[in-house]
Amino acid sequence: MPIINFIIYLLTMIGIYSLLAMSLNFQVGFTGLINFGQVAFFCIGAYTSSLLVVNAGVPVVVAFLAAMALSGIFGYIMSIPTKSLKSDYWAIATLASGEIVRLVALNEAWLTAGPFGVMGIPQILKDLIPKDAYPVFYLLFVIACIIMVYIFLSMLTNSPFGRNLKAIRDEEELCLSLGKDTQQLKLQAMIVAGTVGGLAGSLFAFYIQFISPENFKPIETFLMWAMIIVGGRGNFKGAIIGAVVIQLFNVSTRFLGNYVPLGSDSMAALRMMIIGVLIILFLLYRPEGLIKEKKKIYD
């Protein structure tokens, strides 16, 4: 039985990270916005929904929607400096935004309980689902969310809006010369991405039932980047496959640690080294990732 539980846990985590990778891919792969602070959306989503439920007793549905809205608003805030910063400088600014969000969570203890984290996050629909079936139920819930987000984002990227985003990614000046308000488009893209990131954060919080600033270190953003580099940018299938590959490796090696004669610290470091090497190999030998961006054909 434990092995089945572990597999369900692994799949659920893959699912949650797929959402984060899809959101990041929407920014990087479609709009060319190099966001190194993706974890901020995850963090805001997790904290908003869990605090609203634990401290304020708000219904879970409302808490999820509020979390998505707040992450979306944070996406809007993050997009403001794109007006004056070139993409590489903006990327550095996003790295800072990710850390700022985590540090606020760590230090504003009156709201977030600081380093102790938010405890006692209830399970959704706990009374209606038999205890044994709960992990499977939650996995199905996450999968349903992935399907909805996949459809939602694909509808956007296949629309004139998505075409504008791709054009910003490839030639921003051309967009301007064709009368596109690129600033506005980037802002909208960041709101969309933030909303999806907030959903992932909420799903994570209500799955793990305990969150602390430890969950939202910059390394998480690094993992999400590894996912879209390995999986491929400019398509959402790639983001999901990347999440599968990276999470499979990342989560399963945590448990393999028991069978390898290395301390857990060295194991953790070694794991990141291997992911780093994987990224380098992909960038050198398969820069487009496992799944290439699909050409859009009109007929």
Partner: protein, 251 residues
């Protein structure tokens, strides 16, 4: 249509544009020539809002446009192409054409999601126009190729196609025929002529080929070292001592 008054642009101590005044009347084709580095592209960059001016005024259809961002100027109906063509690498030729289409529905997330039938309708109309234009520009064969894979000349043609999709009132063309083969060049010029006659659009064209200039332009301005040294009909310009000297000494 376009009035440029005493325009100035400096890069450090270099006066890239020095007191340049230009007038482009409604439905006519005006040429802009001058040796390399004389300020032609700078003039375009200032007029289209990509550079900030250091002095002077620009009026388009009677309203001041200097100081506006490029996208606002384009929206007002003044559109430009670039000397080094910009072609979104991972977008097909057709996608490029549709990108430029005017009055699109579905350019923001909300309408993209909730007005899908209207979006599809406008896409269909734009697609038809795009295919027509590609036919005229002899790019039909390449419609599903990535714009990044086109040759330099083909990218020039694509920029023209995009501008035509946008249907602006006035078009600034920065060396539209550089790198285009001679037969097609003649056809292009013919297309520009036709468009100007049929849809009464104004053109302002930077061009090096005197042949092209004299075959289609109603009026020509000549820049040298950021200053306007001559203006007149193509015949007048070809006789102008100063112009000949600028071109010969520049070479």
């Amino acid at each position: 249509m376009l009035t440029i008054k005493n325009l100035e642009k400096r890069f450090g101590s270099l006066k890239a544009l020095d007191d340049v005044s230009v007038e482009v009347e409604d439905d006519c084709i005006v040429g802009l020539i001058g040796p390399n580095g004389s300020g032609k592209t700078t003039l375009f960059n200032v007029v289209s809002g990509f550079y900030e001016k250091d002095g002077g005024e620009i009026f388009f259809k009677g309203a001041r446009i200097d100081g506006l961002p490029p996208n606002k100027i384009a929206k007002k109906g003044l559109c430009r192409t670039f000397q080094v063509s910009k072609a979104p690498e991972k977008m097909t030729v057709l996608e490029n054409m549709l990108l430029a289409a005017e009055h699109q529905i579905g350019e923001d997330p909300f309408s993209a999601l909730f007005m899908r039938s209207r979006v599809q309708k406008s896409e269909k109309t734009n697609l038809e126009r795009a295919l027509e234009l590609l036919d005229m520009l002899q790019l039909s064969q390449l419609k599903n190729d990535y714009a990044g894979d086109l040759s330099g000349g083909q990218k020039k043609l694509l920029s023209l196609g995009r501008v035509f999709m946008l249907k602006p009132d006035m078009i600034l063309l920065d060396e539209p025929t550089a790198g285009v083969n001679p037969t097609l060049r003649v056809q292009l010029m013919e297309a520009i002529r036709q468009l100007q006659k049929m849809e009464r659009k104004a053109f302002f064209i930077i061009e090096h080929s005197m042949k092209v200039i004299s075959s289609i332009c109603d009026k020509v301005y000549v820049l040298n070292f950021g200053q306007k040294i001559a203006e007149g009909t193509p015949e007048e310009i070809q006789q102008n001592e100063q112009v000949l000297e600028a071109y010969l000494s520049g070479a």
